[in-house]
């Protein structure tokens, strides 16, 4: 992987971890020490390698799995802030990636009942449910938003 791409990717993930949000292009450029145009090209290469996903047309950071840059029905409360997850799987993955205590909240995709899962030191300690994967792994990236 291009060294700039690695730096951009890591900064994106560190920003999600530390703020719950995606960084702006200018912020990435300042941190990595490259021009904004090169950041955009780097983000496009990172999307091509499935390191993250950009919004269509505007090419903003949309997903750096398991984090989502936009609010979703799957939210994780940890470190005194809110993190958005892309799906139920990601909502159960963010706590372990952060490593601390967390509450993952969502709604049952079948009946709409509120769901809550508690994590201690990144480990699931309470909450019951069944996760339904609609898309098989070999097709995850055919339409990653649907996945």
């Amino acid at each position: 992987m291009d060294p700039h791409d690695s730096s951009v990717r890591l900064f994106v993930y560190e920003s999600f971890r530390d703020t719950g949000r995606a960084p702006e292009v200018q912020s990435i450029a300042g941190h990595v020490g490259i021009e904004a145009g090169e950041v955009t090209r780097s983000l496009e290469r990172l999307q091509a390698s499935r390191a993250l996903a950009l919004t269509p047309v505007t090419m903003n950071i949309w997903m750096a799995h398991p984090f989502s840059a936009v609010p979703t029905p799957h939210r994780v409360e940890a470190r005194g802030r809110i993190y958005w997850a892309n799906c139920a799987w990601d909502a159960l993955a963010i706590p372990s990636l952060l490593g601390g205590d967390a509450t993952s909240r969502g709604r049952c995709g079948d009946c709409g009942e509120p769901l809550s899962f508690e994590f201690r030191a990144g480990e699931l300690v309470s909450g019951e449910g069944l996760v339904h994967f609609v898309v098989p792994p070999r097709r995850f990236w055919e339409n990653v938003a649907y996945t």
């Binding site: 992987m1 690695s6 990717r9 890591l10 993930y13 560190e14 971890r17 390698s49 499935r50 390191a51 750096a64 799995h65 398991p66 139920a88 799987w89 990601d90 159960l92 993955a93 963010i94 372990s96 990636l97 899962f117 990144g122 699931l124 909450g127 019951e128 449910g129 069944l130 996760v131 994967f133 098989p136 792994p137 070999r138």
Partner: protein
Amino acid sequence: VETTAELGRLWYADRLRPDWQPKTADAMERILRQVGLTDPFWSVR
């Protein structure tokens, strides 16, 4: 839920590491097998 949480822990464990690289199909299969997802649905190829 427990299986999915463990899958997420293993799948995303390296995302905050500077040396992250895209997972190979073999690496994906190892993780899926490790959490017991062996049905053909979970094939990555």
